[in-house]
Amino acid sequence: MIDAGSHGEVLLRVNGLTVRLHSGNGLVHAVEDVSFSLARGQTLGVVGESGSGKSVMARSLMGLLPKRALAGGSGEILFQTAGGAQRDLASLPEKQLRLLRGPALAMVFQDPMTALNPVLRLSVQLTEPLRLHLGLDRQQARSRAIELLASVGIPDAAGRIDQFPHQLSGGMRQRVVIAIALACSPSLLIADEPTTALDVTVQKQILDLLARLQRELHMAMILITHDLGVVASRADHIAVMYAGRVVEYAPANTLFTSMKHPYTEALFNSIPRINDPSHTRLQAIPGRPPQLIDPAPGCAFAPRCQYAQPRCREQTPPVVTVADAPDHQHACFFPVSTIPGGRPHGR
């Protein structure tokens, strides 16, 4: 059991979440036995490469996976509602879940170019959730929407609100997407690669904005990314996902100083460093991520792992807790030995 530690009240506790999806070629084991918990006001960074199940995991938390595609799943998603009651989102009927989406749970999407409806003015898209969930009338909703736009740093919010999405730049659009997501002050925000589609200078602005709003609203956040650098300084805990499983989970600074899983290490080593001598070769992880249809037995990372042993290909390593760090877990039979204070990089 992975725990967010003792900071604050636990808002979200996920136990053994497993999601199977239909695809043209068979059953996709998209999420396998994922457990974690998240306290109010904290940030969980979820890191993994494309196809590691990050987005499916995030969408299943909100019940947004299309019913047609869903081929089964298990596990609990225990969420503390504003009233103090605990709800299992995994078994909540759609109607009740819908009432939670917006005021309790919200999501920011990867591509701001497609996350806004191109034919509706921003005012319509912003006031819709306000009127639906908070029962504001047209005038109240409009002035609240202008406040929201201003709070996400859009200059001349009162003038911008009647524009269409195509009149805004990518960074501005992502700010609007964030404003919509935060319209009803959710207690959990899931940001699914919020900066992947933006250029680097805008990325920092958007991440800073999310951090500021998170502080102001005392909201928990799940920050999904494929970029370790993005979560390094912004997440309290980091979960590294591979082939639908959380292979390592630790507080952010623990993860970077004493990583245990070879995949985390490989991911870390693949980041180019500014003080490397020029012409240093980039370290890639050899091979490809495994397909998630009929996965082979054993550790999913074994075929690409430089430390793999015969046992890794036969048994799936269970999640174990590091002896001297109660909130550091990993799923590896042969955790990498670490040197405190950093690892030698390159060979």
């Binding site: 939670l100 989406r101 996350a115 409806n117 034919v119 319509v124 959730p129 639906l132 195509h166 997501a181």
Partner: protein, 297 residues
């Protein structure tokens, strides 16, 4: 040097600002052809609305003395085989054409569009069943189907509108379904669900506004086709009953006099030709102007 360059670019951009404003007023991008076509359609529409008050002769009053007179004689556009004024009959016939075109297209658009959006959104058995039914309708020879419908529900203006409108349901359902399929894939639909929007709200707020533009754009082109379909019915004597003039009926009557008085069939034919051409042209230009995907916004 540099400031000069900057100055001239300011001047240029200001000049562009003026001409851009002028172009907006005069509708750059549409071209004169569009405005001629639109003007023609406006004329037809005005004729249809004000037919009873326009200074034209009685369209059903036979003046035997004028029988088969050519254009620019006793009658401006000539007279038909019974000596009725062709201009008056065209003006009054426009009413039938416009009413049928509007009603039939609206029926097809509303029913077909709704079915198509529902099929595209909910998929599954409903979609498969609906598409199968629509394929059957499409596979049926449309004229035979139309004759059967008219024989069944009668030859009034309303009945013929409904019958032709029914024929348009499959086409509209397909257009709406195809557009819905692409819209529901978009992230903004997911984003709306993530903000707690119900299915009805998603259909009305997210899907409908995105599907309605291509569906509407198809409307003018469809009206052109409806006018032709109506004239085909009239040619077979199955449209609105005589003596009410219709363009198709006038062509049909004119065919008896083709050898001696070409204008009796030719004048309504040319009128219909220009009307259908204008509908297609205007419809096509509007579509490319308002289609978000084609204009590079």
């Amino acid at each position: 040097m540099r400031s000069k360059v900057a100055d001239s670019s300011v001047v240029r951009s200001r000049a562009q600002g003026f001409s851009a404003a002028a172009r907006q007023v005069f509708g750059r991008g549409f071209g004169p052809g569009f405005w001629i076509a639109a003007g023609w359609l406006l004329l037809v529409a005005l004729c249809a609305v004000f037919a009873d008050w326009l200074p034209v002769r009685d369209p059903i009053d036979p003046v035997i003395a004028n029988r088969l007179n050519g254009p620019l004689t006793t009658n401006i556009l000539g007279a038909d085989g019974l000596g009725r004024d062709i201009l008056a009959r065209l003006v009054h016939g426009a009413r039938v054409s416009v009413v049928i075109a509007l009603t039939a297209v609206s029926i097809g658009m509303v029913i077909g569009g709704t079915l198509g959006i529902l099929a595209g959104y909910f998929r599954g058995h409903f979609e498969r069943g609906l598409m199968a039914v629509l394929d059957v309708i499409l596979a049926f020879p449309w004229l035979v189907l139309l004759l059967a419908l008219v024989a069944f529900i009668g030859q009034s203006l309303a009945a013929i509108s409904v019958a032709i409108g029914f024929l348009w349901i499959p086409a509209y359902a397909r257009v709406a379904r195809a557009n819905t399929l692409s819209v529901v894939q978009r992230e903004y639909v997911l984003a709306a669900r993530a903000m707690g929007a119900s299915t009805l709200r998603i259909l009305l707020r997210e899907v409908l506004p995105n599907v309605i533009l291509p569906v509407l754009a198809y409307g003018l082109v469809a009206m052109g086709l409806v006018i032709i379909v109506e004239s085909a019915l009239a040619f077979l004597g199955l449209s609105v009953e005589a003596p009410q003039p219709t363009w198709g009926g006038m062509i049909s009557e004119g065919k008896r006099h083709l050898a001696t008085a070409v204008h009796v069939a030719l004048v309504p034919s040319i009128t219909m030709f220009f009307t259908v051409l204008s509908l297609n042209y205007v419809g096509d230009r509007l579509r490319s102007r308002f289609d978000v995907r084609e204009s590079n916004l």
